[in-house]
Amino acid sequence: MGLKPKVAIYDFTDCEGCEVEIISLRERFLDLEKQVDIVDWRLGQERKSFDSAQDKYFDIALIEGAPITQDEIDTLKWLRENSQYVIALGACAALAGIPGIMDQEKRAGWYKKIYPSTSSGQVYKPKGIDALPLSAYVKVDFAIHGCPVNAGELERIFEELLAGKKPSYRPYSVCFDCKRAGNECRIINKKICLGPITQGGCQAICISGGSPCYGCFGPREEANVEGLKQALKKFADEEEIKRYFTMFYNKNEK
């Protein structure tokens, strides 16, 4: 990486909420921005500057969203070829996120219902193929997790990157964050929770607000998924458990 790493920020199909979180860093974003050269960011600027003399256009490509259309898949491959580091920004890029709830084989039926043909005979031509994470198509160097990403984590990971280190994942689960936040344990209270198998770093923000944890931070290393399922089966039925495991993990279940 040069003195000022060249950064590209891209978004595929998603809600763009993770980019909103970047802007929501406000003054802290200004600080980060000074340390890099954002050479391509459709949402934030018109400027695009590619230095073709360089081996790769970008030192870091931050990619948000799930590549659903062929065009997005092609762009993703182009970004991989032209970037030193490819970083997934948020749950859609890292896990296929909420769009990943839709199974590929069900898409055709839903296209017909959601985009009905007109009386004049116009038929909708779908563009989406399947909602999959970036890693279904290219090697991803690191994932900044969350739906949306957590501002503090975003900053920490960026600082590690800018210091020339390979960023690290938190070596603990959401349970650690949750205890620190002083929440009651959902599982003890017979409520489904994916916190035990999910990577920490989110500060248990959803559980603290009263919502469930659906695991948007992704499975942590060596997570005991089967063990958790067995524990949940003691008080929840299979359908219910399945709904939790298909919120963010529909395209990732091991």
Binding site: T13, D14, C15, E16, G17, C18, E19, V20, E21, I23, S24, R26, E27, L30, I38, D40, W41, R42, L43, G44, Q45, E46, R47, K48, F50, A66, I68, T69, D74, W78, G97, I98, P99, I101, M102, K106, R107, G109, W110, Y111, I114, Y115, S117, T118, Q122, Y124, K125, K127, G128, A131, C147, P148, I205, C206, S208, G209, G210, S211, R243, M247
Partner: protein, 405 residues
Amino acid sequence: MITDKYIAKIEGHGSLETDFSKSQVKLHIHEGERLFEGLLVGRTIEESHWITPRICGVCPIAHNLASLRACEDGLKIEISETTELLRELMVCAQMMQSHALHLFFLSLPDYLGIDRGTELAQKNPKDFKAALDIKEVSDDIAAVVAGRNVHPTTTTIGGFHKIPTREQLEKLLQKIKQTRASAGRALNICSKIKFPELKVDLELVTQKKEKILSNKNDPSTPLRVNPSIKNYKEVITEEIRNYSTAKFGGYKGREIMVGALARLYFSDHKEKEILDFQNPFHNNIAQAIEILLYHKQAGKILEQLLASKSDFDGTSKSDFDVYASEGIGAIEAPRGGLYHELRWNNKGIITYANIITPTVQNLTSIEKSANALLEQNKEKTQKEKERLLEMLVRAYDPCITCSVH
């Protein structure tokens, strides 16, 4: 270059196909379909307001509240006054968050001689400070009341899992007081900008008191005879286009504009006097006016909450029984009228969902205004026209991820 084709600084992926000789513009929408109306089927009603905010990271609160209302409508749940006030406060935050993001980071750079919004920090630090103030106070309200600035965590059918403490509300009120000047400054900046001239016979549509209003309807019509939100499907129509993954909406098939400009048309606020309701570029000024109005409104609600006897500790929630039903939840989102319709079985599992977003309704109007812009600027070079067209699209503040949900 592979990445050049999309319009920069709009939420989502769109491009223009322009026939300059015929003054005809098509707005292509490229976003992939996430099929939210499909993926909601099979989920529970308590998951609907968790899932639908993920339609859009810029207006998640609007989707959250629309889904909650749909469920509460179907289950005939009466919410408490505290819940009502806290939700109104969330709406204030949502409007300010979204408008500030659009104005300072997407739209105004066109007029301020900068590219990336943050360049304003050097060019005019005081203006940029005002932008950050508005963003900060609105993000803080969302974080305190909704649990997070993007994608709420505290809301539930019937109320809140968790409500703010009195101390938190007092802090928010303090911050509102400290940032009033910044909200005024945003309007000041916008009202000084000379926006491009354009005259379009705009049909402006808004939701008001359970009704859907249009400026094309006879103004002497009493409010009650306007179409009801319950009949939204007969009024807000959608059609498919072969160049768009979003449907194109309208008012019984006619092109309409929804959002800040339309809302202010139907309001009594005196600030609206500076607006030209036939110039869609004025949507920018309308948003700045709304920033100030919602900023004031947030202050009022906070004072009202603090004056009430509630102890603000714990939850504000109505109990309810689940049974098979259906409901409609409508709300004015930052970009205009949003409609969520849900149907569910006796276990609360969703069996049908229909969502119409504001941007879907605006797409037809964007094309109409784009055609008018070309007609009215024939003397300009193609490059100038292209520039103006992009600025026009941005003035509408389209949220393409919302439109292709």
